[in-house]
């Protein structure tokens, strides 16, 4: 009896790590499905707002909601400031974060006109380190189809978009290098960057 129990314990002990190893790919699959579902849902919402009725003001409000729900705006903002995030004061960080949010919404809403009639097709989803990469093809009238990859962080637990890669060009990396160059030509003064961003937001109305 005792021996049999021992046998059971030993087998279960052996099986445990094996089963964990077996579950892993399934987990990854679930995470990929979640990431893919997020992009499908966000994409459908964006398309319906862009192609739907309503004035620009109304559309802007709805786009802001969609961005807030699907995008890790704070994470993207920190990434775009790069090494300067560490040297910024708490007050600068707060003002920068607030402006970044508005700049992001402005940049997206200013393109509504260009994207009228937009459609997208879902492609495959792959894992890249901790993130999921969801491929899509975006088609808009009078333009060649564009390959757009959406990078989704922590796809298993709390999937959020952290980057959009169009034809191999990363939106957040481009933004980061834009800010880095601006800062290096303004004595690395974060207040200068904040002022320039404020100006941008004011001009966009």
């Amino acid at each position: 009896m005792l021996q049999r129990r021992n046998f059971m314990v030993v087998t279960t002990a052996w099986l445990l790590p094996a089963s964990q190893w077996l579950i892993r790919p399934a987990d990854a699959q679930g995470a990929n499905d979640k990431a893919s579902a997020l992009i499908k849902s966000i994409g459908d919402q964006l398309v319906s707002v862009v192609n739907g009725p309503g004035g620009d003001r109304d559309k802007r409000a709805r786009l802001t909601e969609i961005i807030d729900s699907g995008v890790d705006v704070d994470g993207v903002a920190r990434f775009c400031l790069g090494r300067f995030w560490r040297t910024a004061s708490a007050d600068q960080q707060r003002r920068y974060m607030e402006l970044f949010h508005q700049v992001l919404v402005n940049n997206i809403t200013s393109k509504i006109g260009d994207y009228r009639g937009v459609r997208f097709q879902m492609g495959r989803t792959q894992r890249r380190e901790d993130d999921a990469v969801v491929s899509t093809v975006v088609e808009r009238p009078n333009n060649p189809p564009t390959n757009v990859d959406w990078i989704v962080s922590s796809p298993a637990s709390d999937p959020k978009i952290i980057d959009v890669v169009a034809e191999g060009t990363s939106l957040r990396l481009t933004q980061r290098q834009d800010y880095a160059s601006f800062l290096s030509h303004n004595n690395n003064n974060i207040d200068a960057l904040i002022n320039a961003m404020r100006q941008q937001v004011a001009e966009a109305g």
Partner: protein
């Protein structure tokens, strides 16, 4: 020797080698700034920015209005056809580079595209080949050198041609030399055709990027740096697409594939 666009290009590339004007590297006491400087890899930044300003003025005065006029006058379907025809004329250069890159399947795609589009596609006006399973891909001598392991070098902003680097600058020149149209025929008519093809190419490319460039200039705090970043990322992605395209050369109709599962086609190849 009469001036043709491609010959001028070779001369420009040589002359540019002599231009100076360097950025001051940051002091070694600021390691973060030094790291940024190295990552940016743009030691000629002041010269580059001057050429960028020059190109911008040229663009505002000539190229952009022409491209806008082209978009206004010519319907989208015809513009698409003209773009396809121009791309079809580029097939010989594309094919040579596919071969030099050691990408037989890409060379095959280019050959099939050229044969199908020149005939069924009415001298390249319709891109029938894409629908028949021969999608387009990018291939030029800059990419070829990248696949040979030659580094890009520092950023260069070329007059008229815009964002580049030494590798791509040389690539432009070699592409022109490779182009049979550079060497075929003589006389005023041939020269006129050669020029109009280059001019048309410029207008076509500019028209296709009208909205993108406007958007970047509107939203970037430093458009020069943004274009630099975009150019490099785009080139890297084109080169990676070529590098990762390792489809087997066994035809799909061959009864027993010797290496099953090796047929990998990357759908991320960019379509231009």
């Amino acid at each position: 020797m009469p001036a043709t666009p491609s010959r001028l290009l070779v001369i420009t590339a040589v002359l540019l080698g002599g231009l100076g004007g360097c950025a001051t590297p940051p002091p070694a006491s600021d390691p973060d700034a030094v790291a940024d400087y190295k990552e940016t890899n743009d030691p000629l930044e002041p010269t580059n920015r001057a050429i960028y300003a020059f190109n911008n003025a040229l663009d505002t005065a000539i190229l952009k209005p022409v491209a806008q006029g082209y978009r206004y006058v010519v319907p989208a379907s015809v513009r698409g056809g003209i773009h396809n025809s121009l791309a079809n004329l580029g097939s010989p250069v594309q094919f040579s580079n596919d071969v030099l890159e050691g990408k037989p399947r890409r060379a095959g795609d280019t050959t099939m595209r050229f044969l199908i589009n020149t005939t069924a596609g009415v001298l390249g006006f319709f891109d029938v080949a894409s629908d028949w399973g021969y999608p387009n891909h990018d291939s030029d001598f800059g990419m070829t050198m990248a696949l040979w392991g030659i580094p890009a070098g520092p950023y260069l902003f070329l007059p008229v041609f815009g964002p580049s680097d030494p590798r791509d600058g040389i690539g432009l020149g070699v592409n022109a030399v490779m182009d049979p149209f550079t060497w075929v025929g003589q006389g005023a008519a041939v020269r006129a055709l050669d020029w109009s093809r280059w001019v048309m190419n410029g207008i076509d490319q500019r028209e296709r990027h009208l909205d993108d460039i406007d958007n970047i200039k509107k939203t970037a705090l430093d458009p020069y740096a943004t274009f630099r970043s975009l150019y490099r990322q785009h080139r890297t992605s084109q080169i990676d697409d070529a590098r990762n395209d390792n489809r087997a050369t066994i035809p799909v109709w061959f009864p027993q594939s010797a290496t099953p599962g090796q047929v990998t086609y990357s759908p991320t190849a960019s379509r231009n």
